[in-house]
Symmetry: C2
Subunit: 111 residues, 2 copies
Amino acid sequence: MGITKTDLFSMEQNAIAHMAKVLGHPARIAILQYLVRSTTCINGDLVQELGLAQATISQHLRELKEIGFIQGTIEGVSVCYCINPEKWAELSHLFGAFFDDYNKIQKSNCC
Amino acid sequence: MGITKTDLFSMEQNAIAHMAKVLGHPARIAILQYLVRSTTCINGDLVQELGLAQATISQHLRELKEIGFIQGTIEGVSVCYCINPEKWAELSHLFGAFFDDYNKIQKSNCC
DNA sequence: TTATAATATTGCAATATTACGATTAATAGA
DNA sequence: TCTATTAATCGTAATATTGCAATATTATAA
């Protein structure tokens, strides 16, 4: 199939999975880390930095933008990308809560 | 292509992406949440809980086990799965650090 | 207006993922 | 041993992802 049965799961489960999926490619992790370090960047920067084709990077940027992790503003002939602070906070909280649930509820009654 | 160029990225970037990718499916999020709440489970529990076929759940369990998020011990005719505490801590730290980098370095000099 | 520069989009090939029926393997109990 | 139970694996179909060349789009500069 290749198609996820999202209707079987809660909104929160689908949201976490969707965000994780977007984070699930090293190029997109690298782009986000580059943005965190450099504050902003353009597609061209990343072609130099990552060594992927321009078209490929544009595609990864679009995925990051669609889910809201980054935002871009047109600056002349190029587009300036940066982290979206609100979404980054949301992401951080959602994953933080997901991981913390385990620490709260139990410690080591494992099988 | 469909094949990720892992050689272009750092070990850490590939590790984060790999972990995120495994988290990038709502069934696997649901399995982990179920385990967090219930401490342990078997494949059959999840067939009831999730409504996916046994073979499909077995496949998701294998992915979670391969990366180490969960561990299983044989109990008679069934296999008892639970969260792997060490890996969960690693996961939590890795993602925590990734998210925190942004908060440490900058606040809002966005484009 | 024409040329240039930077990105986005399109189309495609190769590979990966998701899902499940059918089968197999392994254990417990009669 | 025979049978039922449970889960893993195999095989396969449908769909998704990755990556890039080619092309289109958009904005600046001459």
